[in-house]
Symmetry: C2
Subunit: 427 residues, 2 copies
């Protein structure tokens, strides 16, 4: 039985117990939420995962970090180190999006070395295998694709991003729309290329039952990908995006009937004033399935700083109910991230998630800030560092800029407002 | 006559013409807005400022960069370089907040070397002079304070932050409130210390007419400071903050009667879900006077990353109608910023301001993103760099991470979604 089937029968498992403890929520309520599909706790039955990561309504907003090689940079040891850094910085899940080098070996090594919830986009491996061995990704067969899904399932991948909503019909919608940036999802572009070249429907849509068979057999969570997500603000929330969302809503219910856990992937590039609406719409169309957003980036013009553009969007999304934020690194749109940028991306996303959690009134979220505020007031620097989202970095900044007095910092030196007021209010 | 008096009489000046051209708005409308107080165009009549910076309703959100020495770091040449870097990165105004070294010399040098709208907090100089020469800032006299105001006015400072809303009554309110972090405004802490020690009312409040005399004589804009702004999320939007805001609203109308331009300073540390309300409240209480916010920071727990916490808050504030964002540098709460951090702070604020401008539908704002999206779609890297918020940095990232093919980037290498889709959709 899958976790969802257990939940649907009201059978509380150890995994649910552990997840409820981690989240400090009632296990009965959590079980109901898993049954209803509004919370997921991804774990492949073949994955010896120790720590549950529950994602969904009323829970702490979680963070995913994408790592992985490309054809321009394919060193396994660097990708393993990125995964380690991401987890150490506070990522709740890792997606291996490798497209360069020996994909199976990279994935297996990461899963072996780094204990974390792991996701992949299986169409990458199938398409790239066809590109390398058959002269083009358009020569990928259905069996190639489902073979890879089976292989990765067997290995213990916890969630699959599957772009099932890219259909011949939705591509027509996209063309009719007249987008600025058409398709920017890599999986979406692989499938679209394959579909147009072969004049065939998306196998992940057409043979969705075959996909569900695999997901149900291994208890894999489906992350229904947004292959048509907007790649620019101008394309945000257009008919093509919403058409795909509607398909994902339909597929969500199909998956639920088979006891398969589902989350929905969302944009992307979205103007600030459209973010809340996007979350509300997804929650309604997909019947409260957890929402996993990439960013969203609130402007297109800041390459080099897209951890900031996406932290802005991510915070608003989280406050409006997005459940899972995919980090974006500073150099998105320019390069594959290096180790430092992976760290930066995770920290920026954690800031966004936490700001959202405070805004939506998550029990306990404000306590962290209250503790920090008390440490600031007490000019207790050790506690400030311990509580900082990035303790080592905060401590290093201060050590490298030591003030004349241990009490204050170099910003105000001897004219520290807190120190002055502490003294005068004591009187 | 002051600019506002001219506007109140419907007399359009060259300065208004130039401001209207820069903002691409009708000069008649701008004149009406200046008359009504909802737009300001700060310039001291003694300042040979060339480029007007109009701040207020319906205009592009502007950015201020704080620079200045402290007792722990007081090298003039570094502060001049910070001002230059800030302006080059796109800051619309500079505040010199120096508290270490020869304050007058630092200010004069910055004004001489860097052509920008300049603001100061005159109480710093008066209080620090008393601390140095009279054995304590509590020995500052009214004439010391007004003497500094007169001196800085004469020199051409364009706007003064004056914490007129810190009154004996509002300090009582604050005490009754029972705050976590009491007072974190440096000017607010100086005045509070002085008032409690001397058991006297705030001279900037009590002798507000004397302040208005100076402001009117030199056409200085008053930035009514929020000396009681919250220093932590837990203190946000409390009775003390709102009590001060009410006083600032009253003082706004007094200033307007004297033809003095006014903006209102705002928080600070504010939970994401309270930001829009704070803007709406300020606009109502202060009769649409422009709102100048510091951040706001949406969490207290991210020292080292406060350019990000404040970019989140700033973007939401700008979208809700805040007119002027004061940048926050990464190391706020830990140190005085260095050159790199000044640059980072300005860029983060510009991202926030622009995201807000798009959200509030500022005419022309989206065009920038549309141009960038077109350049991305065309894989036209030179245009992408030219349009980037930080062109040099974007170009450098790409040059340091050169992909195998000139068309793409190292993120996807040969599996670039844009390139794939461009090819398949051409067919």
């Amino acid at each position: 039985m899958t976790l969802k089937e257990n939940a649907q029968k009201g059978q509380i498992t150890d995994w649910m117990e552990k997840a409820a403890q981690t989240e400090r929520v009632s296990v009965n309520r959590l079980c109901e939420q898993i049954a209803a599909g509004e919370v997921i706790v991804p774990r492949n039955k073949n994955h010896a995962l120790e720590n549950p990561v529950a994602i969904g309504r009323g829970l702490r907003t979680k963070i995913n970090a994408n790592i992985g090689t490309s054809t321009d940079a394919s060193d396994i040891s660097i990708e393993v180190e990125k995964a380690r850094i991401a987890v150490r910085a506070g990522a709740d899940a890792i997606m291996d999006l490798s497209t360069g080098g020996n994909l199976a070996e990279i994935r297996r090594t990461i899963m072996q070395e780094v204990p974390a919830v792991i996701g992949t986009v299986p169409v990458y491996q199938a398409a790239i295998h066809a590109a390398k061995n058959k002269g083009g990704l358009i020569h990928m067969t259905d069996d190639d694709l489902f073979g890879v899904l089976e292989e990765q399932a067997e290995e213990g991948v916890d969630f699959f991003t599957v772009h099932c909503g890219v259909t011949l019909h939705s591509i027509e919608r996209l063309k009719k729309e007249g987008r600025l940036t058409d398709i920017v999802s890599r999986g979406g572009s692989f499938l679209t290329t394959w579909m147009i070249a072969n004049d065939r429907e998306n196998p992940l849509y057409e043979q969705y039952d075959r996909l569900l068979d695999i997901a149900a057999a291994y208890d894999i969570t489906l992350s229904l990908g947004d292959g048509l997500r907007p790649g620019s603000l101008a394309d945000a929330t257009d008919r093509a995006q919403i058409d795909e969302l509607i398909i994902l809503g339909e597929l969500t219910e199909e998956a639920w009937k088979r006891g398969v856990q589902v989350m929905i992937e969302g944009p992307g590039h979205v103007p600030l004033n459209q973010i809340e609406m996007n979350i509300t719409l997804q929650k309604r169309i997909c019947h409260q399935a957890p929402f996993y957003v990439l960013g969203p980036l609130v402007t297109d013009v800041a390459p080099g700083y897209d951890h900031i553009t996406s932290a802005i969007g991510g915070a608003i999304a989280a406050s409006a109910g997005a459940d899972f934020l995919c980090y974006v690194t500073p150099g998105e749109h320019l390069k594959l991230p290096d180790l430092h940028e992976v760290h930066q991306g995770v920290i920026a996303s954690r800031i966004a998630a936490h700001a959202g959690d405070i805004a939506k009134g998550l029990p306990g979220a404000m306590e962290w800030d209250i503790s920090m505020a008390k440490a600031r007031k007490a000019l207790d620097w050790d506690t400030q560092f311990r509580l900082a989202v990035d303790p080592d970095y905060a401590r290093r900044i201060r050590e490298e800029n030591a003030p004349g007095s241990e009490q204050v910092c170099t910003m105000c030196g001897e004219y520290c407002a807190i120190q002055l007021v502490n003294e005068i209010l004591k009187k």
